[in-house]
């Protein structure tokens, strides 16, 4: 299998789609599809953090799960540079072929309460990936687990305890230690801090940033909280109803969004400063479109304040309008949108 990949990229996702069938009736006939991920392309550069944002149901979690092959994509390519130096298309690999690749790409889950087995000790939880990948020597495993626990700021003496003895933030650290057990290159973090309290959230974000620097990790950071994403991401990708609407460097995207949906998202985030209360409010009307029955043309047109006739009929494609800035909007070049000052 020979695949080509841009040198600085570690992962390239091309035209990824994932449709879930809607079944109905006695014979469970497929009557339609939920277009959870609809022709999404992006790439991850080595050592960067790409933030994937969007409202609930926009397909950001499905995208991240497809990248990991926790879900099988309907079509598309996921080209990945493995640590052994080969380049593979993860979308087409069989389960057996996937196994060696899996240790390079790991996941951190949203809910630290349900993602840890309550009947396993920390040693078992963090040590399991090691065991599965052939580190069966117990003392070796002990060393590695205590090293990992230290790395995430937990005391190695806690190794024999069960998850119930830990708070939400500490559990999330355990989840991070488990994800790092096999020295992955890429970590997919799906809403890693949204279940945590604000004071603890900051600790975990700081930890993730420190680990990235220390271990040269690449993050795909899925979140709905734009403030968190801004903090941690080098680049941000915005999704709406299964489509990528804008990708760009964080600061530029927040300062001057190119897609009307990005603008609306940024305007809607409440700023924690009473002196910056928005005097004139420009909020999006309506609701997120149904991915099983999306509108014609640009999916955002029924809610878009700038929509024209072309938006109702033609689906825009993601294009690079300025260096490094991709947007999928017919009017991207003419619109002057406001971001965060």
């Amino acid at each position: 299998m020979t695949q080509t990949i841009d040198n600085q990229n570690i992962l390239e996702v091309k035209n990824l789609t994932k449709f879930f069938p809607i079944k109905s009736g006695f014979f469970k006939k497929t009557i339609g599809h939920v277009r959870a991920v609809d022709d999404v392309s992006f790439n991850l550069k080595e050592g960067e953090t790409l933030g994937l944002v969007g409202e609930s149901g926009c397909g950001k979690t499905t995208t991240s799960r497809c990248v990991l092959r926790a879900l099988d994509p309907t079509s598309g390519e996921i080209i990945f540079n493995t640590s052994s130096g080969s380049t593979v298309d993860m979308a087409t690999l069989s389960n057996k072929e996937l196994r060696p690749v899996r240790k390079d790409i790991q996941m951190i889950f949203q809910d630290p309460f349900s993602s840890l087995n309550a009947r396993m000790t920390l040693l078992d939880i963090v040590g399991e990936p090691l065991l599965v990948n052939g580190i069966s020597n117990r003392s070796e495993r002990l060393d590695r687990v205590s090293e990992l626990l230290k790395l995430v700021g937990l005391r190695p003496e806690y190794m024999q305890r069960y998850p119930h003895a830990f708070s939400g933030g500490e559990r999330q650290r355990i989840g991070i230690a488990r994800a790092l057990a096999l020295n992955p290159k890429v970590v997919v973090a799906d809403e890693p801090v949204s279940a945590l309290d604000v004071s603890v959230q900051a600790q975990v974000i700081n930890l993730l940033m420190d680990l990235q620097e220390q271990l040269k990790l690449t993050y795909l950071f899925v979140a709905h909280d734009l403030s968190v994403v801004k903090q941690i991401s080098d680049r941000v990708a915005v999704m709406y109803v299964g489509k990528m609407v804008e990708v760009g460097p964080t600061e530029k995207l927040f300062q001057k969004p190119l897609h009307p949906y990005t603008e609306a998202l940024l305007q809607a985030v409440p700023v924690p400063d009473p002196r910056q209360r928005k005097s004139e409010k420009k909020h999006l009307a309506g609701e997120v479109a149904n991915p099983a029955d999306p509108p014609s043309g640009c999916y955002f047109h029924p809610r878009c304040p700038y929509a024209q006739d072309i938006c109702k009929t033609t689906t825009p494609t993601l294009e690079e309008v300025k260096p490094g800035r991709f947007v999928s909007c017919h009017r991207a070049k003419e619109l002057d949108l406001s971001g965060i000052k």
Partner: protein, 341 residues
């Protein structure tokens, strides 16, 4: 005892939950005043007792919780009644609930009955508190639907909760809450389950309704951005006690309690720089049975005074003598000698 202008005055309210393992002091002495037409924000992290305060005001606590001390003075057309002195099924209290003080819950999905149409639930509530016949109540319910921005009121009134999206369900919940034109609306995390764009819509709606009906509002939330956007006054809670109270601007720009400052510094803001490290509060929230002695915040406090903060409990006192608008419970601002009782 109570100023004529206040609508609600909570004095040293205590709500305890006796359990097999010990008494959980969910709310352990909290005081605040609320004036007509104003919005008070109650902020804090999970487990600080903010929701219990909201339920305690209406005495709809879950078992085995009960009010063990303090007063809740409600200004009933010039006459002060103490809501805390009634049993939860007392006639007076039942008259106040719903018709004068209404509550909006966090989870719009679980707050409606799934087997009755949303309209019929609202009509039931109207007929319970108002002298209206079925037809009048239905007309009023449809008017309320228009008021809160639910389209096609005539057909929507017969729909069930599952046919509504999250945002619409929260609107229906608000329609129900304002159906008896209450003087006070308690909103417990009204936007937490919603996406940012929907959150902005709901906050706008609440503010519009408040202006139109001259309602007072208590907004219980963990989101400091939401507080900055809508509140006039803020109470910051930590482990069942009020840490600090003041006008929103001074809480955000001139906070006195180390916990408030820590909280403000630890939230990622959409205005902050990318890649910047967040300051965080060390440690985690202590378990409910294991409250620290003295000031409950002292183990996490960056400026705690040895021998004082870990021994004596700070009182909740005005920052400047006789000025009730700024209250703080911290030894950094009060002389411990005077307070030791």
């Amino acid at each position: 005892m109570n100023d004529k202008n206040t609508l609600l005055s909570v004095k040293d309210l205590k709500i305890h939950f006796p359990t097999d393992e010990g008494i959980v002091k969910a709310v352990d002495g909290i005081s605040f005043d609320l004036y007509p037409g104003k919005t008070l924000g109650i902020v804090g992290e999970s487990g600080c007792g903010k929701s219990t305060v909201g339920k305690g005001i209406l005495n709809i606590l879950e078992k085995p919780g009960r009010i063990t001390g303090g007063n809740i003075y409600w200004n009933n057309n010039g006459e002060n009644i103490d809501l805390a002195s009634f049993t939860s099924d007392h006639k007076t209290l039942r008259g106040v609930r719903g018709s004068e003080i209404a509550l909006v819950f966090q989870e719009p999905m679980t707050s409606f009955s799934p087997v009755h149409s949303v309209g019929s639930q609202i009509i039931e509530m109207i007929r319970l508190h108002k002298d209206m016949n079925k037809k009048e109540a239905k007309e009023w319910a449809m008017e309320l639907f228009d008021m809160v921005g639910i389209p096609n009121a005539t057909t929507r009134i017969n729909d069930y909760a599952h046919q509504f999206s999250g945002g619409l369900r929260q609107r229906a919940m608000i329609a129900m809450a304002i159906s008896c034109e209450p003087k006070l609306l308690i909103a417990d995390e009204p936007t937490t389950a919603l996406d940012v764009t929907t959150q902005a819509q709901i906050l706008d709606l609440l503010q519009d309704l408040q202006e139109k009906h001259k309602m007072a509002m208590i907004l219980i939330t963990h989101n400091l951005g939401v507080v900055a956007e809508v509140c006039d006054d803020v109470v910051v809670m930590y482990l069942g006690r009020s840490a600090e109270k003041g006008p929103v601007d001074s809480i955000f720009h001139d906070s006195k309690h180390p916990y408030t400052r820590g909280l403000l510094e630890s939230i990622p803001s959409i205005n902050s720089k990318q890649g910047e490290r967040l300051k965080s509060i060390v440690g985690t929230i202590p378990a409910p049975f294991n409250r620290p002695k003295g000031c409950t915040f002292h183990p996490r406090c960056p400026s705690y005074i040895k021998g004082v903060c870990d021994t004596y409990t700070p009182e909740y006192l005005p920052l400047v003598n006789n000025d009730d608008s700024r209250l703080v419970s911290c030894f950094l601002h009060h002389d411990p000698e005077k307070e030791v009782v």
